[in-house]
């Protein structure tokens, strides 16, 4: 039984890859491999995209390294193309797992003409209408009240969709967070709030963020169940998130899940010196030892279905090729035209913007 408000994070697999609970039926070795493949894809995507910064082909990168189990487990617990998502900037692995094409993700990060968002937002601020992923805002916690609204609409319209809203531990301090969570509870909206607690908000540790013992217990004050899961255990994440999604879908109202995980890399490219400035190497080492991918490798080993070196190398190679092809294709699409800057401000371009566009056109023609 999956229970809310547990003292410790719910686990299925130990750090050493041992089973702590019986595996539900669906976890065949093939399925577990599939989970592993999704996580590896996310990890390798990160690894291959970070060099874009050094090459000056993007201006910002927010790694998800270490958080793959939380993000993959969550994505697979919901129905892609059916449920709705209000994500935050570190969630590219969720999008990838939902099936958003690599090219679309890479194009947004590079701001190329192939970016469906037309090169307007900074990197890692994706939108994928066809996957019901609402556009990401960097203003922390500003997605929480709109997520509640989407869920209220789903309830009003009588759909069986749910809304998933993700955020970091830092976001739980913002007023918008409290306002959105409270309204969701009162309106019984079908929304799953997921805190990807990676324990740091830039240089501010979670103990300086909240005096609350955990994040998930805050749910109690608002009148909704709060679940606590080991965010580096993909099976526990998938089980807990699936359970919670089912509950919400069956009309139980909103719920909150806290996935305890760790941001292994820097917050962004701006703080590559994290270990020097605000956290210890020992802490990072402790958490890298709990790596979500290695845990599954060990589990499969213990189950007698190890992933061979060749198999792993082939998976890594495959993702590498996929990312390289996406980068090439995105680059080949060129830079978005300057006049895109003046589109989509309103449904119909008002005269003052047409005037401003004409002004820049004349300027660009004179420069050409």
């Amino acid at each position: 039984m999956i229970q809310p408000f547990t003292q410790r994070p719910i686990q299925w697999v130990s750090d050493q890859g041992e089973l702590l609970q019986d595996l539900p039926e669906r976890y065949t070795p093939e399925f577990i491999r599939e989970l592993y493949r999704h996580m590896l894809r996310a990890r390798e995507m990160d690894r291959k995209l970070i060099p874009l910064l050094r090459q000056g082909r993007t201006s910002f990168y927010a790694q998800a390294h270490g958080m793959e189990a939380t993000q993959v487990g969550l994505a697979l617990a919901c129905r892609s193309g059916h449920d709705w998502w209000w994500l935050y900037y570190r969630d590219h692995p969720i999008m990838l797992t939902l099936g958003v094409p690599m090219l679309q993700i890479v194009s947004q990060i590079m701001g190329t003409a192939s970016d469906s968002c037309k090169g307007r937002q900074m990197p890692h601020h994706f939108c994928a209408k066809e996957y019901n992923v609402a556009s990401i805002s960097s203003s922390i916690a500003s997605q929480i009240p709109p997520a509640t609204g989407t869920a209220m609409a789903q309830k009003y319209l009588g759909t069986d969709e749910i809304t998933v809203c993700t955020f970091g531990d830092g976001a739980t301090s913002e007023g918008d967070w409290h306002a959105g969570v409270n309204m969701a509870a009162v309106s019984h909206a079908p929304v799953m709030f997921v805190c990807e607690n990676n324990q740091w908000a830039i240089s501010t540790g979670v103990a300086d963020q909240t005096a609350s013992e955990t994040i998930h217990i805050k749910a109690r004050a608002y009148g909704m169940p709060g679940y606590y899961v080991d965010g580096n255990d993909v099976i526990a994440v998938l089980e807990v998130m699936s359970h919670v999604a089912d509950q919400i879908r069956s009309g139980e109202g909103p719920a909150m899940v806290e996935a305890l995980t760790y941001r292994v890399g820097s917050h962004s490219n701006a703080d590559a010196d994290a270990e020097k400035n605000y956290r210890t190497r020992e802490e990072v080492a402790e958490w890298t030892a709990r790596d979500p991918l290695e845990r599954i490798e060990k589990l499969l080993q213990n189950m007698g279905h190890p992933i061979s070196e060749e198999e792993k190398a082939a998976m890594v190679g495959e993702v590498g090729d996929e990312v390289a092809a996406a980068i090439d294709e995105a680059a080949a699409s060129g830079t978005p035209d300057w006049d895109l800057m003046f589109q989509d401000v309103y449904a119909v371009q008002p005269p003052h913007l047409a005037e401003q566009e004409a002004y820049v056109r004349a300027e660009q023609e004179a420069l050409a």
């Binding site: 201006s59 910002f60 701001g111 090169g119 307007r120 937002q121 900074m122 601020h125 805002s137 960097s138 203003s139 922390i140 916690a141 500003s142 830092g170 976001a171 301090s173 913002e174 007023g175 918008d176 908000a201 830039i202 240089s203 501010t204 300086d208 963020q209 909240t210 701006a270 703080d271 400035n277 605000y278 830079t335 978005p336 300057w338 895109l340 800057m341 003046f342 401000v345 003052h352 913007l353 401003q356 820049v360 300027e363 660009q364 420069l367």
Partner: protein, 338 residues
């Protein structure tokens, strides 16, 4: 084009060269040392030293009870500053990016700006909100906006924006020592690009006074913040063609130095107003209005505004969005040929 803005002022005494962010750090450091009531706080400003390193080393030097991290809540940061100020402290709150002042808007509008007036002058909120603003750093709209006009519209707060290291330090000290809430915008693209001479001695730059960056007789270029190096480079380009532009840096928007602007435009008869904020309801609209109201019959040409556009700040077209030296010079040519 050099981004270094020279100060024409003479008597600086003994000086040293600093960049704009260094001047901010130094102002905070000196004010913390001078006055025990000064506290510096915000997201990541403590041990790490802020995302731009404006507070680097200050926790180490002044202690964690005076320079500290807060939870990620702009409303709490600004609201707490108001309460501290009323209780006798001199809080300096950092909002990590001006784009994130949104959550604190109500605390500024309803509390900071109103405390003195609504209490009949019994309570006051002498506090400073520091925040990096403006574009030019490939930050997309959430890290590039210029929201200063919103804050000039709420009576009760002062609004300043330096463009030189000298002013950055002097205005910040004046803001900390002043008796009112001050919103102190920092043009982030000049943090390291703007270098200049700073006196070794203590000094302040009075809030509400503009600076003449360059004297001229043919037209007045008026700007503030991140656009100033481009305004000056435009003036230099015009000088090569024999046109002498006067360049005025407003430095303060609320209150603003109407007298300095009117004196200049009365002399030159032409004004080009430069700001990177979106054009509509831009603060420069107020400046243009004042010029036409006071100097209607002395103007030799219409007042022209060079501004950002009425679109959200774009990521890829970062550079096209901003008023360039070229764009400013073209506007000058337009008023000269009117």
């Amino acid at each position: 084009m050099s981004l270094t803005v020279e100060r024409p002022q003479a008597e600086l005494g003994e000086t040293k060269t600093m960049n704009l962010i260094g001047a901010i750090t130094e102002a905070l450091d000196e004010e913390l040392a001078r006055d025990k009531r000064v506290l510096v706080f915000g997201e990541d400003v403590g041990p790490r030293g802020g995302v731009f390193m404006a507070t680097a080393g200050l926790t180490e030097k002044h202690g964690l009870d005076r320079v500290f991290n807060t939870p990620l809540s702009e409303a709490a940061i600004v609201g707490a500053a108001v309460g501290m100020a009323i209780r006798g402290l001199r809080p300096v709150a950092e909002i990590q990016f001006a784009d994130y002042m949104g959550p604190s808007f109500d605390q500024i509008l309803s509390q900071a700006a109103k405390v003195r007036y609504r209490s009949g002058g019994q309570n006051t909120a002498p506090m400073v909100i520091r925040t990096p603003s403006g574009g030019g750093v490939k930050g997309g709209h959430h890290h590039s906006q210029s929201p200063e006009a919103y804050y000039t519209h709420m009576a009760g707060v002062q609004v300043v924006m330096p463009s030189t290291p000298y002013d950055a330090k002097g205005l910040l000290k004046a803001a900390i020592r002043g008796e009112d809430p001050v919103i102190y915008f920092e043009p982030k693209r000049l943090y390291r690009a703007a270098k200049g001479e700073l006196p070794l001695a203590d000094y302040t730059v009075p809030i509400g006074k503009a600076a003449v960056r360059r004297e001229g007789t043919d037209l007045s270029i008026i700007g503030y913040g991140g656009v100033m190096p481009d305004a000056i480079s435009a003036a230099e380009a015009l000088a090569e063609a024999g046109v002498q532009a006067e360049v005025i840096d407003l430095r303060s928007l609320m209150p603003w130095d109407k007298e300095a602007v009117l004196n200049s435009v009365a002399k030159t008869g032409r004004a080009v107003l430069v700001s990177e904020a979106p054009r509509t309801s831009n603060f420069m609209g107020e400046v243009a209005y004042s010029i036409q109201e006071e100097l209607f019959d002395q103007l030799l040409a219409p007042v022209i505004q060079v501004a950002g556009f009425d679109t959200p700040y774009p990521y890829v077209q970062d550079k096209i969005y901003l008023p360039s030296g070229n764009r400013i010079a073209n506007a000058c040519v337009r008023v000269l040929n009117y």
